[in-house]
């Protein structure tokens, strides 16, 4: 558990959109997917997840409807909208550029540790 990292400000939205790229998912499923895909490195605070979903829905990037989960529970499923898809593309490239830049700066110190 100590290796888990809290999410950076603003990245949760990006990760939610990215997760939904593969199809509709409910809140708990999104949290689990992020955790699993990051190989348990990224910790999604469930308390922050729902306001984030709320926000994305308000912006029109995702839509939601009620459905039934795999283990027969009533759940609210989120789907990516075309606008959300566009947003994901834009934010992904921004993020890559940012990560690469930070990586370059940090990279010079890597060998010395």
């Amino acid at each position: 558990m100590s290796t888990r990292v809290a999410l950076l400000q603003g990245t949760l939205d990006l990760l939610i959109l990215r997760t939904l790229l593969f199809g509709q998912q409910h809140g708990q499923g999104i949290a689990r997917a992020i955790q699993q895909e990051s190989e348990d490195v990224l910790l999604v605070e469930h308390g922050a997840l729902y306001p984030a979903l709320q926000r994305l829905e308000a912006k029109g990037w995702i839509t939601a409807k009620w459905g039934v989960s795999s283990n027969n529970r009533k759940a609210r499923f989120y789907t990516l909208t075309p606008r959300g898809r566009k947003q994901l593309a834009a934010e992904s490239s921004q993020w890559r550029a940012l990560a690469a830049a930070i990586g370059r700066i940090l990279g010079s110190n890597e060998g010395s540790s």
Partner: protein, 906 residues
């Protein structure tokens, strides 16, 4: 836009998350209890989540607004005295200011509804209204001939137009109509009049220069209002022939809606006629008499013209023209020519008959209304501060309990807005009602006033915004300052003072209000008494049962030699009406609004050295005249039926005439006349009791009465024109036995029987005539009383506010006093003493101002001295009583303070 979710939907989602998360944890091997606990831990506080969801939604804002509104209304309802006072203050301020300013704007500031009104210039101040002859000094009315001379000898005008100074009533009947002729107002205008104003016909065409030539076919334009109200916009009116005073006139055009003429007047013209047809319709031929001055001028000045140069040029033109006529005018008049002046003034807002009459009064009103608005704002500020102070404890507790500070400010804001809206609604209502009332009060007796009774929206908005802002600033200020204070401090009860009794500006304001209301009340008292004296004075004629019927046989086309039979017929026919006791006629009746004056020469006394020295009113009357109007003949005889054109010329003079010209002699048997050359014209055969013919507040003017038909053969054309005109007696007077109810209809029918073309211009009882002469005085009394009451009300509210404020601030001090043994009486006494100190200073300031104002008003007062201690004392007592009423509530509140509670620290 996505519709916002309900909170419940969100809660369900969170619960389903918990269930699924617990499922997962169970799969990972946790036991049932632990799995649920972990799921809850991961999600965090459920309630907080829900709260956050709720806060983020727009509904929350609206929800809170609804809460705030509900809370505000509850709060306001819980304090009805405060709410009522504050709302009333606001309503009075907004309403009164708007109503008064709307009127002022319409009368004083608005431009004529014409093209580029700033280019228009008028000549003189339009002080003279009517038909004049002789020298005017500073000229404003001109004759047709003088107009044409000035028009042709002045550079710099695009056009210079002339129009009748005093549009009069004419008899109008559409040809083919079965009705009797109706009396309508017509104005004669020069051919370039509409070109000068830049006004085009709404339908048909405007009168032009071709219509204003001698011999041109008679045409006229009708106002849109008359077309609409009288003829229901019937298009066949255009081109129709109308009978105007017996002449056939074709209607060629309709004026645009909203055009009311060359100046704002009550009863604006219904028809416009070219000058050239004046002889045909008016039967007077003023147009052709160069020495009769009856036209105003208005010109459109070229942009590059110098108005000063033009004025000088016109003045020179005037003197040149007068020099050309000096042979006819005579040596006395010729000597005055170098002193005759003329000036140009801005005419964009029109010929200002109304403006000249009401300007001073309206400006005073405007100043007062501005002051009222100021007082309203200050009082409102006071009230809001008191309220905020009273809430301090509550605010502190709310803060201590964790209420968001922004929420508290918002709450205060909402309350202020609600209050402002209530007051504002009242203000709008008062503004509408007030504008209407003011208009009908100011222009009492007018058939129509071309001023819209809708309040000026800009002013309404301004007054509303100012009071809203005041309410907001002073409503929110307490919440705001409470915000910055540490809640603990406020709870502990610091920040209270013992000394200050309201801030200095607040107290100054209350003192000023007290002084102002005293001054206004004293003025209202004096004016009311003066009006009462005017109404109940000895007029020298009786009003009860008397009726004045105005006719104009001249307009109906009667020639001078037809008059004697006409008046005989009128007298004989009207005497047969039921309940009529006596009938007569005169050139003008008492208080009928007309007056004829002349300089007399007494036989055996030196002629007047200066114009106007022997100025005397004169009148022509029929037989039984004095008996009919109820004026007693004190000595000698009255005018008899036997006094006709061919008999010895006689006159009855009034007491003032006898006193003025025969202080030591017996006037009976003496001779006098209207010109030095004619000083033997009339022999005095009787002396009549003094009667008031003009303003009821002026002393009786010397006056003489001659038989209607006796003509003096003067040798000047101008004087002779007046002499001929004076043979047409305009007022038929009747005395009824009892207060006959419906006398108007029988009178009209009788006249229609005598001659359907003889238009009855108006029928008025003598009572109405006297009342209408007093309408200005009545208006001033009403307005002063209204403002006196308003000022008194505002001063009381102000005093209430300041006293409440001081009681609220000094609650701890009062508590200590009570704890130390002060009884309730002394607490009430202390509060009242403080309030009365302010009132006393107000009185001390107000009394000298009231006296000074009374002294200035002295000339306007009738039968009452400006120094009237009773009225002053009465006003002071009323003020003191109102002050008591305003302060007793806060004083009792102070006395009812529980010492333990105040000392415990609120």
């Amino acid at each position: 836009m996505i519709r916002r979710r309900k909170l419940q939907d969100f809660s369900t989602e969170l619960r389903s998350h918990l269930a699924m998360e617990a499922d997962r944890l169970r799969e990972e091997g946790f036991d049932e209890v632990e799995a649920r606990r972990q799921a809850h831990l991961n999600l965090g506080n459920l309630m907080q989540q829900e709260e956050r969801f709720y806060e983020s939604s727009r509904w929350a804002w609206l929800d809170q607004l609804r809460q705030d509104l509900r809370y505000s209304i509850r709060q306001l309802r819980n304090a009805p005295a405060f709410t009522l006072t504050a709302a009333l203050t606001l309503a009075i301020g907004i309403g009164a200011t708007t109503a008064i300013f709307t009127l002022i704007h319409a009368v004083l500031l608005k431009s004529l509804p014409v093209v580029r009104p700033e280019q228009l210039y008028t000549i003189g101040d339009a002080k003279r209204i009517g038909v004049f002859s002789g020298m005017e000094g500073d000229w404003d009315v001109v004759s047709h001939d003088l107009y044409k001379y000035l028009r042709d000898h002045t550079d710099g005008f695009y056009e210079l137009a002339a129009f009748q100074a005093d549009p009069r009533r004419i008899g109008v009947r559409r040809s083919g109509d079965a009705h009797v002729a109706e009396s309508r107002i017509a104005e004669y205008v020069s051919g370039n009049y509409f070109l000068t104003f830049g006004v085009h016909a709404f339908a048909g065409r405007a009168i032009d220069a071709d219509d204003d030539r001698p011999g041109a076919a008679p045409v006229a334009m009708i106002t849109y209002r008359s077309w609409q109200e009288r003829y229901a916009l019937d298009p066949s009116v255009l081109g129709a022939t109308f009978n105007m005073n017996g002449a056939a006139v074709t209607i060629v055009g309709v004026m645009p809606p909203g055009y009311f003429g060359d100046g704002l007047r009550s009863n604006p013209p219904d028809f416009w006629l070219p000058l050239a047809i004046e002889p045909v319709v008016n039967h007077a031929g003023w147009v052709n008499n160069p020495d009769l001055h009856w036209l105003y001028m208005m010109g459109r000045v070229k942009p590059d013209a110098d108005v000063k140069t033009m004025g000088a040029q016109m003045q020179t033109g005037l003197r040149q023209w007068l020099n050309g006529r000096s042979g006819i005018l005579g040596p006395t008049a010729a000597a005055q020519i170098p002193r005759q002046t003329l000036h140009l003034s801005r005419g964009g807002s029109g010929i200002g008959a109304m403006r000249a009459t009401y300007s001073a009064g309206l400006q005073l009103l405007m100043a007062i209304s501005g002051f009222v608005l100021l007082i309203v704002c200050a009082n409102l500020a006071n009230l809001m501060l008191v309220r905020g102070l009273g809430r301090r404890k509550q605010t502190s507790i709310s803060l201590a309990l964790g209420a968001a500070r922004s929420r508290l400010v918002r709450q205060a804001l909402t309350e202020s807005i609600v209050l402002a809206l209530i007051g504002g609604a009242g203000g709008v209502a008062i503004a509408f009602a007030g504008t209407r009332t003011l208009l009908s009060a100011v222009f009492a007796g007018a058939n129509y006033v071309p001023i819209s009774p809708t309040p000026d929206l800009a002013v309404l908005g301004f007054a509303f915004a100012i009071s809203l802002l005041t309410g907001l600033v002073f409503g929110v200020a307490p919440a705001w300052t409470a915000n910055r204070a540490d809640p603990l401090d406020a709870l502990r009860g610091s920040g209270r003072v013992t000394q200050h009794v309201g801030s200095l500006p607040q107290r100054t304001l209350v003192v000023m209000q007290a002084a102002l209301s005293l001054v206004l009340m004293a003025a209202a008292g004096l004016l009311t008494q003066s009006l009462r004296n005017l109404e109940h004075q000895e007029l020298g004629f009786r009003t009860g049962g008397r009726v004045d019927v105005r006719i104009d046989p001249n307009l109906a086309g009667y020639k001078i030699d037809q008059l004697e039979p006409l008046y005989r017929r009128i007298k004989e026919r009207l005497a047969r009406l039921p309940a009529v006791e006596s009938v007569s006629y005169s050139l003008y009746g008492p208080m009928s609004g007309s007056s004829w004056t002349t300089d007399v020469s007494i036989d055996g006394q030196p002629p007047p050295a200066v114009d106007g020295q022997n100025s005397t009113a004169w009148n022509r009357v029929g037989p039984d005249y004095f008996e009919t109007i109820g004026t007693r003949i004190l000595r000698g005889r009255t005018i008899l039926e036997s006094d006709i054109a061919t008999t010895h010329h006689v006159a009855v003079v009034n007491e003032a005439f006898a006193r003025r010209f025969f202080p030591k002699e017996d006037p009976l048997g003496k001779h006098f006349g209207a010109r030095a050359k004619f000083s033997k014209s009339f022999e005095i055969v009787g002396i009549a009791e003094d009667a008031k013919y003009r303003q009821p507040d002026q002393p009786v003017f010397p006056m003489y009465f001659i038989p209607r038909s006796q003509v003096t053969p003067y040798d000047e054309a101008g004087t002779m024109a007046f002499e001929a005109r004076s043979l047409y007696a305009n007022d038929v007077v009747l005395r009824f036995a009892a207060r006959a109810g419906a006398m108007e209809e029988p009178i009209r029918r009788a006249f229609a029987e005598i001659d359907p073309n003889l238009t009855v211009i108006r029928i008025q009882t003598f009572d109405t005539q006297v009342e209408s002469q007093l309408s200005q005085e009545t208006l001033i009394v009403r307005l002063t009383s209204l403002f006196g009451l308003t000022a008194l009300l505002l001063a009381s509210i102000g005093l209430y506010g300041v006293t409440s404020y001081s009681v609220a601030r000094r609650s701890k001090e009062i508590g200590i006093r009570v704890a130390l043994g002060a009884d309730r009486k002394s607490v009430v006494g202390m509060v009242l003493r403080n309030a009365y100190l302010l009132v006393a200073i107000g009185l001390a300031l107000g009394i000298p101002i009231a006296l000074a104002m009374a002294r200035i008003m002295g000339a306007r007062l009738y039968g009452i001295s400006w120094y009237n201690p009773a009225i002053l004392a009465g006003s002071g007592i009323i003020l003191a009583a109102c002050a008591l009423a305003a302060t007793i509530a806060p004083a009792r509140r102070a006395a009812a303070l529980d010492p333990m509670q105040t000392l415990r620290g609120d």
